[in-house]
């Protein structure tokens, strides 16, 4: 599903964010990428979503070599990869329904399809009945669930969650992790980027540890090592 071959990312003039990364993430896998701040976790996410290009190496997502992906192909890639961030990235003046629908609207979907898909994803994330509320009327955990729902509208094969629990308390953190596990059970490959030790230790899935831009360890059923 995701293959990284000798991938390096060097920011000018000579800041090495990632160095010789080799990874193979299989379909339907749940992988946690952990590491201290500044070890290249977010750079890795940016490489997967083609926000950044690798300096060296090759990146293949779903059989598609995106190493030298051109600008017009990036939107297609991003419809295949759902992304969730720490800061939710919701539009405060839009309702929950509108926030999720927005992702479909800007990709040219018609009203019928929107009205069909939005309730489905709201049901998956457990927010049915709250579609008329505004983001600020929801808790942090609920807002993150809206972000997850929005990431799911294109039925992506991969869901990348970059520090999704960074702004949440332990209760909401647990809820979001359970949601990601549920989505993984449905068949979506999940890449969770975090530095939350408790989260990693509770999941019991594959853990890739980054340190100074390199892969320090890759455990099938891993623990937080750093």
């Amino acid at each position: 599903m995701i293959i990284l071959k000798d991938v390096s990312k060097i920011y000018p003039p000579d800041v090495t964010a990632l160095e010789n990364i080799n990874l193979h993430i299989k379909p339907r896998e749940f992988v946690s990428i952990v590491g201290r701040s500044g070890t290249g976790k977010t750079t890795l996410v940016k490489l997967l979503t083609a926000e950044e290009r690798p300096s060296n190496g090759r990146i293949i997502v779903g059989g598609w070599d995106i190493t030298k992906i051109n600008g017009s192909e990036i939107p297609l890639l991003r419809r295949q990869i759902g992304v969730v961030f720490q800061d939710f990235k919701l539009l405060s003046k839009k309702t929950i329904f509108e926030n999720i629908a927005f992702a479909l609207e800007v990709c040219g979907n018609d009203r019928t399809k929107i009205c069909d898909i939005v309730p489905q994803v709201l049901k998956i994330v457990g927010l049915t009945g709250k579609e008329g509320r505004y983001p600020l009327q929801l808790s942090g955990g609920e807002q993150q669930r809206v972000a997850v729902a929005r990431a799911l509208v294109h039925r992506p094969k991969i869901l990348v969650a970059d520090e999704p629990t960074g702004n949440l308390d332990s209760y909401n953190t647990q809820e979001i992790i359970e949601l990601l596990l549920k989505i993984n059970e449905f068949g979506t490959t999940v890449v969770l980027v975090t530095h939350n030790k408790d989260v990693i230790n509770s999941i019991g899935k594959r853990v890739i540890t980054l340190d100074n831009g390199t892969v320090a360890s890759d455990q099938k059923i891993g623990k937080y090592l750093l």
Binding site: S72, K89, L91, F102, V106, C107, G108, N109, H154
Partner: protein
């Protein structure tokens, strides 16, 4: 899907227009001022052309014959002149008509009228009024006439160099036109910079939506198009306002033009109506193209997609 996307692009552009309402108004005002300035140059052009045409039409040369020259002799000269390629029209004023004109002209002056009566016979000769095809032809016609056998029959000719007056009018009009063009150029540049800045602000205002659009896989043209369309809206609205302003102003100016030309055969509003699409259509296309160019540069610079 394409139609839905196009409709949404329109909707997003329209929302953006209203979201930065006052900025949109300032942008439109500057574009309207640019239109007004360009229209002023057009009016000036049309009026100066009309002025020159009217002056040209009023120019003629009068050839005054001696009183003892007979009508057949005058008519012979008329035929001679009519055969010239440069001559457009010749009017014959007989001795009797010339005297009557003279009487009318001096009807308040009893001394002159009495003197005429005392002479008994008609002291005023016939006149030929000549109109040439071109203003440059008058000296040629006069030269030919002076060197002809008919020169002895002629008492006087009132030829002045009208070309100098025409050149003076043209010179003044050209100067005003140059100033108008410079003003239009400066205003166009300001309008472009304002449009650029407005689109930049619109991009900044929408930075959250843009980030989400990119995140969820909206295409580049879908993200960029509303901003280009917003710039097109500015051009269309500004053009419509300038049309609404133009005609009342032109009608307001018309009486002054009538009194200036001493005729009401020239109507500036009619000129603008007859050339409506040529003037406003051309202006609209140009401003839309310039706005698109300006906003495209802003998008390239500030909208990373």
């Amino acid at each position: 899907m394409l139609i839905i996307s196009i409709l949404r692009i329109f909707s997003f552009a329209w929302q953006s227009f209203w979201r930065n309402f006052w900025l949109s108004m300032v942008t439109i005002t500057i574009i309207v001022l640019t239109f007004v300035s360009i229209n002023f140059v057009i009016v000036l052009n049309v009026v100066s052309d009309a002025a020159m045409q009217i002056v040209k039409n009023k120019i003629d040369v009068s050839v005054y014959f001696r009183p003892d020259v007979t009508e057949p002799q005058v008519l012979e000269v008329q035929n001679y002149l009519a055969s010239m390629a440069q001559v457009k029209d010749i009017a014959y004023i007989s001795q009797t008509d010339a005297l009557e004109k003279f009487r009318q002209l001096h009807r308040q002056d009893t001394t002159i009228i009495e003197s005429i009566e005392e002479i008994g016979s008609n002291p005023i000769g016939a006149t030929l009024q000549i109109k040439a095809k071109n203003i440059d032809d008058y000296p040629v016609v006069m030269d030919i006439l002076s060197n002809s056998k008919y020169n002895d029959l002629i008492l006087d000719k009132n030829f002045d160099d009208h070309k100098v007056y025409i050149e003076k009018i043209k010179g003044i009009a050209d100067k005003i036109r140059q100033v108008g063009l410079i003003a239009s150029g400066v205003l166009s540049l300001i309008a472009l910079l304002i449009v650029f800045n407005t689109i930049r602000v619109a991009i900044y205002t929408h930075r959250q939506e843009i980030a989400i659009m990119k995140l969820v896989g909206a295409t580049n043209w879908f993200i960029q198009s509303p901003f280009l369309l917003e710039a097109v809206f500015y051009g269309i609205i500004a053009c419509a306002i300038s049309v609404v302003i133009a005609f009342p102003v032109l009608n307001l100016v018309q009486p002054y033009l009538n009194s200036f030309f001493l005729t009401n055969e020239f109507s500036i509003a009619t000129y603008f109506t007859q050339n409506f699409w040529k003037i406003f259509g051309f202006e609209l296309i140009i401003i839309i193209l310039l706005n698109i160019l300006s906003s495209y540069i802003a998008i390239r610079r500030y909208l990373r997609v």
